[in-house]
Structures are given as C-alpha cells and as structure tokens.
Symmetry: D2
Subunit: 338 residues, 4 copies
C-alpha cells in the first residue's frame, strides 16, 4: 500500500499521516524528492482498514499494491483448474455445453429436453427447481419434486445436472440430487451462502452479479474456495448497462480477463445476457473465440409455452444450429491460440 501526498502537502500534514499509521501499528517508509512525498506501508494486520487515512489533509492518493484475492489467483495456482462432474468437464482446453430449460416444469419436459440436448452434444443439463423471480406473482419453481425429475433425467441420459441454490437452507437438499450447484447473479454477494457452499462437496457455478466488477466476482469465488471448496466455475452472464436492445450486455472481455487473473474455468451464459434467442448463436461462438471453457444455454421443447424465459429459449432445432457452429470453431481455436 502506498500513500502519495499532494505536492503542496505541508510537513505538518505529512507528519500527521505518519503518526496515524504508526498508531495503527504499521511501519511506514517515507521517500521524498523535490516536490512529492511517498509513504509506503508494508503488511499490516488482517482486516486493517487504512482507507480513512486517505481523508487526511494533504493526501493525494491511496494505492493498493497487492491483489485482493489469493486462492482464486493465477499467481497462487498457475495451472488451469479443471472442474469435473461426471460427463461434464470444464477447464483445461475443451468447450462444454450445458443446456436445458429455465425451469423444470414436469418430468416429461425435463426427460425430453435431456434426450435431445444430449443427442446434440451437450454434457450438462440445466433446469431450475427454485426460481428467483423479480415478482412474487411469477412462477416460483417446482421445488424438491423438480429436483427428483432432474436427477432421473440426468442419470437416464448421462448428463451432469446443474441447478440453482437460493439460500443456505436449500444446500442440503440440492446436494442430494444435483451435480453442480449454481449461485445466481442476484446471490453473487450472498456471502453466507458462499461460505456454506465451501462445505457442499459439489462443484459450484458462480454467476457474475448484474453490476458486479470482475474483481468482485473473483472475491466471491474466493469466499467459496476459502471455505473449503476449490471446484468453482465462473459464469459471465451479462452486466446491466444503459443498452435496452439486449436484456443485459455480455461482457465478452471478462472471459480473457478471468483467464488471465484466475486459474478457474469460465463459461458464458448467452441466454441470460441477451434475453433473446436470435443472438444465442453469435454470442456462443464469440465466447469460444474469446477463450471460454463452455456455455450454458436455455433450450425448451416449446419455448412459446415456457413458464419463464421463453423469449430467450431455443427450440431443439435452433439449439442444433448452434451446436453445428460450435464444433468447427472449437477446432479452429486450437490453431488460433498462439
């Protein structure tokens, strides 16, 4: 950490900052030249908050020089983490597709989807049993019954199941039926949930919050890993911006950035990012080109009759068209990566 004093800072102001730091138990090192004074601080106890010092008279800037995350960082773990859940492998060079409906609506529905997306190349099956909905009057999900249907569908067709856990009390039941526990965008900073998922014993797919920075996403992952669960999959699902043509703005740069900063796998969710089915294919292909490890895509037997998210769900035929584009691009990327 470094504190830069203003060129015009008085000796008295500089001394006051140094005294405050010593008071806080850290040893500042001071360096001066003709018109600037820099105060360096090394270490300091955990949780020490030095930000208030930034408000002292004469202080120009307060700069953090150390990365705020540790265990998610590539510095800490240089090789790619590969997360495996049965047939689903994320990280390590491939491109996996998780597909399925927004919500589990019936056993037949989820069985039917599982059969079809498997045949088209998916290795994971998505579907919500507990649905976070903006309005209390919207469909809230089938609950445990839905989880059972999903487990059976995953087993029947050899697909890893992915479903959202909404609160700490649901973890136990989710773990019983589901292979990968998803943390939704609205819960990305539900820190108690993150901590308890550290002991879940199943991989966690962590979606980026609508207005979360990449640093905050990685810190949220740090909560899970720090609590004992190294199997975290990051998911870029669009951020909230002023643009209204799409539901959210897919931040494609998040893919190479997370790859650079972290060893964790990262996938994209073009369905929630775009909120409209006509962009799923180009965004999925863009994800591959940007270096993503996979995608999670909404597919429904009859999107126009879906209980939720029908606008962005693909038909089987449309999903087949996406998958037809995936293979040649994944192949080409092997050559393109320098």
């Amino acid at each position: 950490m470094i504190i830069a004093m203003k060129p015009a800072a008085s000796l008295r102001e500089i001394t006051a900052v140094i005294a405050r730091l010593e008071d806080l138990g850290v040893t500042p090192t001071v360096s001066k030249n003709e018109d600037a004074t820099i105060i360096g601080i090394v270490g300091g106890r955990k949780g020490l908050e030095l930000a208030p010092v930034a408000q002292m008279p004469g202080v120009a800037q307060f700069v953090e020089t150390q990365s705020p995350f540790k265990r998610v960082s590539r510095d800490y773990h240089p090789e790619d983490t590969v997360v495996r859940a049965g047939p689903l492998t994320l990280g390590g060079g491939g491109f996996a597709v998780v597909a399925g409906p927004c919500a589990i609506e019936s056993e037949q529905q989820i069985q039917d989807v599982a059969a079809r997306v498997k045949a088209l190349g998916a290795t994971g099956l998505r579907g919500g049993a507990f649905k976070p909905r903006s309005s209390p009057y919207s469909f809230q999900g089938m609950g445990e019954e839905g989880l059972k249907f999903m487990q059976r569908a995953g087993k029947a067709h050899g697909l890893a199941t992915v479903s959202e856990v909404m609160n700490v009390r649901q973890i136990e039941i989710m773990v019983r039926y589901i292979d990968v526990l998803q943390v939704g965008a609205r819960n990305m900073q539900n820190f108690d949930l993150l901590k308890e998922l550290g002991g879940a014993g199943k991989p966690v797919m962590l979606k980026r919050g609508l207005s979360a920075t990449i640093e905050e996403l990685l810190l949220a992952a740090e909560y899970i890993i720090n609590s004992g669960n190294p199997n975290v999959i990051l998911c870029e699902r669009g951020i909230r911006t002023f643009e209204t043509e799409t539901r959210n703005t897919l931040d494609i740069s998040a893919v190479p950035l997370c790859k650079q900063l972290s060893h964790l796998p990262i996938i994209i969710d073009p369905s929630h990012a775009a909120g409209r089915r006509d962009l799923i294919k180009p965004l999925t292909l863009a994800g591959i080109a940007a270096g993503a490890d996979g995608a999670i895509i909404e597919v429904h037997p009859c999107p126009d009759k879906a209980f939720s998210d029908g606008k962005q769900s693909l038909t089987y035929e449309q999903f087949g068209q996406v998958m037809a584009g995936v293979a040649p691009l994944v192949e080409a990327m092997r050559g393109a990566k320098s």
Copy 2:
C-alpha cells in the same frame, strides 16, 4: 397487455398470434385500421408468461398495461404508510435521522455513539453485527454479542435500533434484539429472505440494490408485504454507474418517484451513496428537499480508526453540522410543498 403487429404483418402471422393466445387460454380482442393491427389481452391466469409471443413473426411490440406491483402501490393504498419503531417514526411528513457506526466494534463504542447522536437529534441507531464484505479477509462483524451491545445502547438512550440481517437463519436472533431489520443492497433480491421477513413481526428497511431499477425495488418490497409484513421502509443508497468520484451515484429522483408510485416511506443513505464524508451534508439536505422521510448516516467516535467504512463516517462534530442544517430545511420544506 397489448400486442402490436408490424405494419407489414401478413394475415397469416396475425392469425398465428391469435391462435397461440387462444391456445394459452386468453381471449384476444383484435382491432385494425389501414396499416396496423392491435391485439389486446385482458386478464390471463397468474404467472402466465406471454413474452414468447413477442418473438413470433410479425409482432412489433408487446406492452404491459398493468402495474406489476399491487400492495406497495399508491393506487392500492393512497395514504402514506407510517412506520413506527419506538421513538423512530418514518413517513407522514417528518424527517427522521438514524445514525451510528458501520459496524458495532465494542460496547463502549456503541454506547458512546448512541449518547452523542441522540443528543444531536437522531431517533434511530444503526450498526452492523453481521457485515457483508466483498472480501472474505475483511472484518465480518461481532455477531450476537454485538446485537446485545446494541440493544442495551438503544434502550439506554431511547433510540430505535437498526441492523442488517444477512440470511434466513439470522432472522430469529435479530428479532430478539433489534427494532428494525435492514436488508442490504446485495440482498435486495434474496427472495427467500424477503419472504421470511414477511413473518418477522418487525419493520424492515429495504435497501435498493446497486443495479436495481425502482420497479425492482418496489417488487422486492411487494415480496415482504405479500408475505404478511406491511411495515417496509425503502432506502435509496446509490446505484452503480461509471462515475468514480463517488462510490455510487445517489439517485435523488428515486425519492419523489417512490413517493408517487408507492405509499411506503423512503429514506436516503448518503454515506453509502457517496462513500466520502465531505458530501454527506449536501446530500442529506438534497434528500429533504426531494421529499425523503429520513436519512441513515454513518457516525463513528473516531472514523480514522473504524474497522470499516471509515472514509465515509462522520465525526460527532461533523454530524452536528449536518443536523444543524437539517432543522431549517425541514422547516422550509413545510412551506415549499404545494
């Protein structure tokens, strides 16, 4: 709900939309003129999702004509709701101030703050025992011990206590010690928490999420009221934008908008919005002028030594200066309101 067909929509496209709607069990009414066809839909069963119809060929626009919220709406409840918690009254024309530290750090600290803010005019005492922190390595709060300290401080000085509840499991313990349960910005769409707070029997202060629209804030309040708790206080605490001079951007327009759309009281949190103490006074006064029912302000015996949020916390002296500005403005607003 209305579906507007494109001027160039074919008869076949129009017929297909009508057929789909009838299929979904609603009765469309069709009106045409020389170059537009409008399909109106009235009612429809709860939770029915018509959005996919918007994707059908020939559809230009899909318009919701009914307000998405009911119980929070001023249409439903024209008079202002007044929320009371002992000495704290929010709504109904006054301007109440809740003050205190970001986090409870010791019994002495919270007792000292309570005495001072009370003397300066506050009627509520804030302080966190469970702290949502971006990093797992930051101070996480004192937990139940802190709640006990806070309860004693509130009672000793005649202040209503306000503290954040972070998950469903904490509700029981919070209710035992605290007068107003706060839902933090990061939990605004933690729907299970909102539902369970419906049965908490204590007022809830609901903070707007960093990237939540006003509609989403009101829908989150709807969850609480719909689950049985009418005593909800809205809190505008800044939204995330591109501007970096302030931690967040206080959306001052949210105050008159919420007043117009809803009967619930709304307060502002200038401390979290600005993230810097030098703006607390002008923002608090702006809140009064915009029609807010109160403000929640961070005050610390020694902000430079605070465990968290010291940068935005006021000293007692600074808080006194804010309160000195509050009284004349509240008085003036009585005349200014037409």
Copy 3:
C-alpha cells in the same frame, strides 16, 4: 506521478522501468523497503505519455498525483467565479433560474414565455434555434430567425438569453444575438468547438455529457478557459444509467463535488435529467439544497403542443409552483450553510 512495482518484481524489472523513464527524459526517484519499490517521477515535459510504462513487467500501479486540470481548479482560483450576463448572475451565493421552451417555435411563443417566466422570477430565457436531434426526421429548429425572436424577447422583458451553439461555424451568428452560449451534452467533448468558444467573448454554459465523468466535464471547461474565456457555467443534466423511469439520472453529488474541485458556478437541468415534468419541482429544490447556483427549466405555453420535449416542459402554472418552492428554500439554505 508514481509507479509502484509489484512486491515480487525482480531487480531486472525495476531497472528496466528506471531505464525507460530516463530514456523519456524524466528523473525517477526510487525508494525501497523490505517488499515494495516505489518510483516517483516529478515534472516531465508537457504531453509526455507515460502510460505505456504501466504495461512493463513488474509494474503494479501507475498513479497520477497531480490534478489533471489547472485553470478550472479551486486550487488555482480559490474564490467563487461569478458569471454575469445582464440580469443573470450565476455564482456567488444566489440561485438564478433560466426558463423557457425547448425550441423557439414562433415570435409570439417566445415573447409570451418571456413575459410569464420573468413575472414568476426567472432572470434568464432559454430556447433553442439549432436543435440537436437523435433522428434526422425530427424538428431541427428555426435557425437565425429564431435567434432574432429570442433577442427581441430577452430585451423586451429584461432577461438574459441562453441558446445552444452546435458547431464552430455557428459561433459568429450566435454571438450576435445571444447572451450565453450553451454547449449541449452531445458536444461536451467537441474539442474544436470548445477551443473556438474560448474567443467568443460571451459566457458559455457547458452541459455535462451523458456519460462524462466529472473530471471530463472539468477538463472540457479547461479547454474553454485555456483558450481565453473564463466565464464558464457548468451544468449537471443527468447521466445515462440503467434506470428507465427517468430519461437520465440526475447526479446530484456532482453539485457539491464541482463546487469543491472548481471555482466555476454550477447549475442543474432537472428537465433533461428527469425527462418528465412531475419531478421538476423536487429536483430543483434538491439542487438548491445541494448548493447549486441555479437551474435551467423547460417551460412552454402549451407543453402538449410543443414541437419537442413536451413531456418534460412545465405549464406556466406548474412553473409558478416550482418558483413558489424556490424562495423559502433559498432562504433556509442561508441558515443551513455552516
């Protein structure tokens, strides 16, 4: 300027950075302690770009310690600048109101508005003759004829006239008729226009761009002052965010921030910020409470028949209600300012 090296930076990396800086003609000063190296840079020739150094191996942070603006800064000019244009005074403690239609539509319209807003307390008259419109198919303004109407209306009723200049070629004609030249939000970084306004000899009202930071706004003002025109009025008119209830989000914090960073007067434009007339009064009052020097408000004889911006224009009666609230608040603020 300071360059902070990563704790793990090698001696070779540190040496390379120092060599590069010397190469660029600056004298770095180096300070080290047990695990950090800080390189300070003082001065450097104008326009020198050191940012690429930030990309060199081992560099953690690159920190600017000097304010990017000079002439707009309060450090440079501690007293408030007061801009005067006949009866209109901005800065120095009062609160002035500029009112009028979005666009000049006829001589009768602008004369009528001038008479009415003057009677209700305005000292400036706004109205566009050249209109920046998103669509080429929208009304583009009356041009020079409109300027003549406006000049006559301003003179007849003792109001300073304010109108937008859209490009460098219009400056000459604008100066002939208008008292205060307005730079629109879309032109805030039209640097050639800013430079030429430096020689205009009339005050300039500079509107903040839709996505401009406060620093960028002040740098834009710096262009004008640096080119010879010290009479610049800043205008906060809302920034673009994800919220859709209002056309833009009035960044009320910009008012006290600009007051702190700069000596220039700052006003708010609640009409363009909100985009709806029902928020004009609370936002104007919030502006006063936040310390603004004035407001610019759209008023139209018959808003429902306006050629543009009718949705946000006030009737005379509504404008009278706003002005009725302004006086007591301005009075109260005299007491509230500590």
Copy 4:
C-alpha cells in the same frame, strides 16, 4: 403508434386523448374490450411530437410501432452494403483489418507501420492527424502535415487510409488526403458534422458513442445516408459501464444486432474498447465469431514510446500473433454460418 389507456381510465379521459389527437391532425382508431381501451394512430406529419399525449390523465403506455430509421434499415435494403475504398472492402462476407498508430507522429513512423501491417495482412491504415483529447494539455496531433505523410504511406504500400475528422471545417482537407473519414465516438451525435459528411464523397466510419444505444448509432448513420452518402461503416468500440478492468466494455452483441437491423457493414475496435493490449487478440477473434466485417487495431513501432494510447497499442510481433489467429477463424466461420 399506439396509446394504451389505463384499465381505470374514465370515459372523459379517453375522450380528451382522442380530442387532442384530432387536434394534432391525426385520425385515431379506438378499440375497447371489457377493461382496456387502445387508441391507434397511423401516419401523422413528419416531425410531429406526440410524446406529450403520454402525460395526459388515464394514459398507461405510449408505443412506437414503426422503426425510427429508414435508410439504414435492412427492411429498406435487404442485401448487405459493401463499402469499398481501394484495397479495403468492408461487408459482404470477408474480414478486413485496418491497423496503425493512434496518432501520426512522423513520416518515418507511418511509413514503417504501413509496410509492416501490410505484410501481416492489413488492407487499411489508421492514424490520427487531429486528435480529440480529454485534456487540452495532451498531444493534439500533427494536422495537415500528418495527413500528407499518411497519404504517401497508404499509396506506397497499397493501403486504404482511415483518419478522424473532428469538425465541419476539416472535411475539405481530409477529403483531399484520406480514403475513409472516421467520426469519433465523442462526435457520434455531432449532427452538423454528420450532415456535411453526407456530401463528402468518401466512405465514413462511424464510431458508436460511449453511451449511445444501438438505435442512436443507427440514427446517426441515418443522418449521413439521408444527406447523400450511402457508404457508412459502423464501428463498435466499447461502451462506458461501471467495470474498470477495461477502459470500456466491448458490446459484442452490437455486432449481430446491427447485422440484423441494418445492411451496413460493422467492424469492432478492440483497442479502444479494452484499452489494454493483452485483450486485443481474444476480442478480435470474438468479433469474427460474432459476425463482424472487420477490425481496426492500434499498432505502433514502439508502443512504450507512443505519444498517445501506448497502453493499448500492439507491437508488430503482437499484431502478427493476432493476424495468425484471424485466418483460421475466418475460415471456420464459413462453415459455422448456417
């Protein structure tokens, strides 16, 4: 256009809206069912502003059913527009790369860059002679001399030249030396500039504004086409969001969206979007996968000594690595497009 009345609208309110519309010279058509009234409006004179009607009592929604743009629209011109400037072809299925420095710094520099980027596969040469800079104290460009250098470099190496025009007065000189005139993000809504470029007789590359919606970008293009110049190239260069890891957020969805809505070619500018060189390759490849017609990339002989934008400029070697990835991906996309 459609006006939907609130379910609770009174007959009087409905009648008032109809009367107002008739007053404005349009013929409304009314349709009612048990609880909603819809008023349709067809046609209306150019520039008619109906928005104020949306403020009348009883009105629920005001819906535009017609596309706001005409000439840029795919409905108007179903086939892809192909823009050609000598060796540079944009649109029609290929992927072209325009490369070069941020600013022209000397004849040697631009000649050297031209030779190298040509050898690596570029068909266009970029470089600024007039630089829009946030600060008046930054390097402002070489002006006409730079244009001459650029013209010679383009001719010598068989590259089309692309350079930014900043104001209406520069068009004449730019046209003399440059093949493609670029409109910068800050000037996207400098409507006078757009109109005059309609008569420039050279293709125009129009960059999306930092906070411009896709609709606004297309309307800006409409200004140019409507003024007589059909050769417009759209450029997605990142939008301003809260994320700070990248300078802007590349909105990759803009590529397929513009392709869908318009017949104009669209390219991406990964250099300005990311603001850092380590993301240029993945973003360029993502652009190809999303369907872009090209990319414009900053390349500098020695980025660390660049006068501007050095942080995001590539060395020749890095540019070579990007180009090595481009070819296989363009090839693969031929197969991936369904």
